[in-house]
């Protein structure tokens, strides 16, 4: 088995699908000759040609419209938004158009599109690059939203996303791109969308999280174990729709939960998880479900990023509040 970084696993998934299906097209700004600003599409144009992997003019809304049109004519577009902070430029295509194609035509037409985009903090990008805008798309009916936390998951989930006949927003945390390597099979495999993964089993407290915060939560769990607190960590992987069964089964086992997200507290996913737990399992709870999230400011200037982002220490603190409630 090969050792891959997350970005290599992502490239590998696209290569697999470009090989597997000639209708798969990969396009966006700088994805061709340059191989993408993060090198996610490195070598793909050389291998599959300019008809399959190509650069677009610099216009996000145009890229979204292009994807929708190509989808209507039988292609499976994999479009890149260079940074997810640029989502607003293409929001109509993503959240107003491709998500309703099947619905508005009563099943006659679909948008089998994968929207790939880097996001996430901790890498000191200029403003409007790192913002965690996943809540905006996760609140939009008709979109599936996927955020992997490991190279293995990234490959299997991205292959599933590309094969899905409905639009999938696939978000790649920039800090995870090259922060570590892990074993990833060279052959193809899929991980189903809409399923969470229990990254660590435990019996005292459930942490529900996704993206880079999976790693902070696992670190917090290790620290808490030293104090005799046995934490279960659920990596949502697909943040919309939620894998409610996995969340509820865990909460009913541990009777305590916290939800951890990198995004601002008001920005969506964690609040929804709390609501689902409350609606379904309130009688199993020994304590309120608390959230660990960033403060409700605009994404901070780079010099304040480290202090602003939630970290494992904050997770430990919140976990203890719930344990000691």
């Amino acid at each position: 088995m090969a050792q891959m970084t997350m970005i290599q696993a992502i490239t590998d998934a696209m290569r697999n699908e470009l090989k597997n299906n000639e209708d798969v097209l990969v396009f966006g700004e700088d994805v061709g000759q340059n191989g993408g600003v993060f090198r996610a599409t490195e070598g793909l144009q050389k291998e599959f040609g300019e008809e399959r992997v190509f650069d677009t003019p610099l216009a996000e809304s145009g890229i979204g419209g292009l994807a929708i049109g190509l989808g209507l004519t039988g292609f499976r577009p994999v479009m890149e938004i260079q940074f997810f902070g640029f989502l607003f430029e293409v929001f109509d295509s993503v959240a107003g158009q491709m998500n309703r194609m099947r619905y508005r035509t009563g099943g006659k037409l679909t948008s089998p599109i994968t929207v790939r985009s880097p996001f996430g903090g901790g890498v000191k990008t200029p403003e409007m690059h790192a913002d965690s805008l996943e809540g905006l798309v996760a609140q939009t009916p008709g979109l599936k939203v996927v955020i992997p936390s490991t190279p293995y998951d990234a490959k299997g989930l991205l292959i599933s996303a590309i094969r899905d006949n409905d639009p999938v927003v696939f978000l790649e945390h920039m800090k995870l791109y090259r922060s570590f390597r892990a074993e990833v099979p060279e052959e193809e495999y899929t991980i189903p969308l809409g399923k969470a993964d229990i990254k660590r089993e435990g019996k005292d407290l459930t942490i529900v999280t996704y993206g880079a915060m999976v790693h902070s939560s696992l670190k917090a769990a290790e620290e808490l174990e030293k104090e005799g607190i046995d934490v279960e960590v659920i990596d949502l992987m697909t943040i919309s729709p939620l894998d409610i069964d996995t969340i509820i089964a865990s909460v009913e086992k541990t009777n305590r939960a916290i939800v951890v997200q990198e995004a601002q507290k008001q920005a969506g996913i964690a609040a929804n998880v709390v609501a689902e737990i409350t609606e379904r399992s309130i009688l199993s709870l020994e304590a309120p479900v608390l959230r660990v999230a960033a403060p409700d400011t605009i994404y901070p200037f780079a010099a304040a990023e480290d202090a602003w982002l939630p970290d494992y220490k904050g997770i430990i603190e919140t976990a203890k509040k719930v344990i000691n409630f």
């Binding site: 292009l66 049109g69 004519t73």
Partner: protein, 361 residues
């Protein structure tokens, strides 16, 4: 220098016309090759659409239709361009462009169902290459660039055509769509139906550009301004644009100079607030039906009797289509839930159960 350049650009965009207001041919060299039957069919479609427009307005007032954007005045622009298409070409319409998709193959009763907001309206026949009328101004233009590129990549001998109004030409997506199609040399035709008002705002307040056609220059594609009340000129310009696109010569922007006689939509718009009756009168004199009727009568191709036949046929079809629309099953929430995704995720499965129970009561 810049003023001179702009003047040079604007000079290129004189209005292309074949028939004048008296139905006389003023540009013999540009006369398209159309059989007598073709010419009669074009007239038939314009008359049919005028009757349908009158009926739709009245049905809307009676509460028997939903959203409706009147089309009278724009028949030449809509149907002249559609007549230039192959049946497998793609049409991506704006909200007013129902006649084009109906004559492309959408059954009339489905157009009525769509107007009422019933999803069965948009479950159109297989193999019909249309999208449903776009509500977001400009979204259809970038999607057209994608469809056109897809057709080219699939080796199809077809084009994608899209429509918007003069207001649509102010949108960023208008420019992005033309620019993308130009950059990929995709077989796209962009039609801006300049009916002079974006709801109430006159075209002079949309842009300092003297024509919308000249905006093609910035995208590096062909642009032409056409008399949109002259059905032969619109047909001819669209036909040429289509042939150029298929010959690999790139997309075209066509600005049709037209007018809507009625309100923007039937949802409370009052054109007397922003339009003078003098302007209405001026444009009524240019009427595309009157002009083409005169042209055909002189050729012995149109009579009052023929016209009445079309009027009667239109009325009958509309009656029949309304009956069919009335018999569509009541729309259910469970149907809508079922069309969100190919497979139902957890949340929608639960909501499907909930609404199945409610709707079976």
């Amino acid at each position: 220098m810049s003023t001179k350049t702009l003047a040079q650009v604007e000079e290129q965009f004189e209005t292309f016309q074949i028939l004048n207001e008296e139905g006389e041919v003023v540009n013999e060299a540009a006369m398209p090759e159309l059989s007598d039957e073709n010419l009669q069919e074009i007239m038939r479609r314009m008359v049919y659409t005028r009757i349908w427009d009158q009926r739709a307005i009245s049905l809307n007032r009676q509460g028997r239709l939903g959203f409706y954007a009147p089309v009278a005045g724009q028949e030449a622009s809509m149907l002249g361009s559609q007549f230039a298409l192959d049946k497998d070409d793609w049409i991506l319409p704006g909200y007013r462009d129902i006649p084009q998709i109906v004559f492309h193959g959408l059954p009339l009763h489905q157009a009525f169902l769509w107007s009422r907001g019933h999803f069965a309206g948009s479950q159109f026949p297989d193999g019909l290459n249309i999208l449903f009328p776009q509500i977001i101004i400009g979204a259809q233009i970038i999607q057209t660039a994608g469809v056109a590129l897809g057709l080219k990549r699939k080796g199809k001998n077809n084009i994608a055509i899209t429509y918007t109004g003069d207001g649509g030409a102010s949108q960023g997506d208008f420019y992005e769509g033309m620019n993308f199609a130009g950059a990929y040399n995709a077989p796209a035709v962009f039609i801006v139906q300049n009916n002079r008002f974006a709801i109430s705002v006159p075209v002079e307040k949309q842009s300092a550009a003297k024509t919308i056609a000249q905006k093609a220059v910035a995208a590096g594609i062909e642009g032409i301004q056409v008399d949109g009340m002259d059905v032969l000129a619109v047909y001819s310009a669209t036909k040429q644009a289509r042939e150029r696109a298929l010959a690999g010569e790139g997309p075209t922007l066509i600005e049709t100079m037209t007018y809507r006689y009625g309100p923007h939509t039937m949802a409370g718009d009052d054109p007397t607030r922003y339009r003078s009756s003098d302007l209405d009168d001026e444009w009524t004199k240019k009427d595309p039906l009157v002009r083409f009727r005169k042209f055909l009568e002189k050729k012995g191709l149109w009579t009052e009797e023929k016209e009445n036949e079309v009027v009667e046929k239109a009325k009958e079809d509309i009656k029949e289509a309304m009956k069919q629309a009335d018999s569509a099953p009541k729309q259910k929430v469970t149907d809508l839930i079922g069309f969100m995704f190919e497979d139902l995720p957890h949340n929608l499965r639960e909501q499907m159960e909930e609404y199945t129970a409610k709707e079976s009561k």
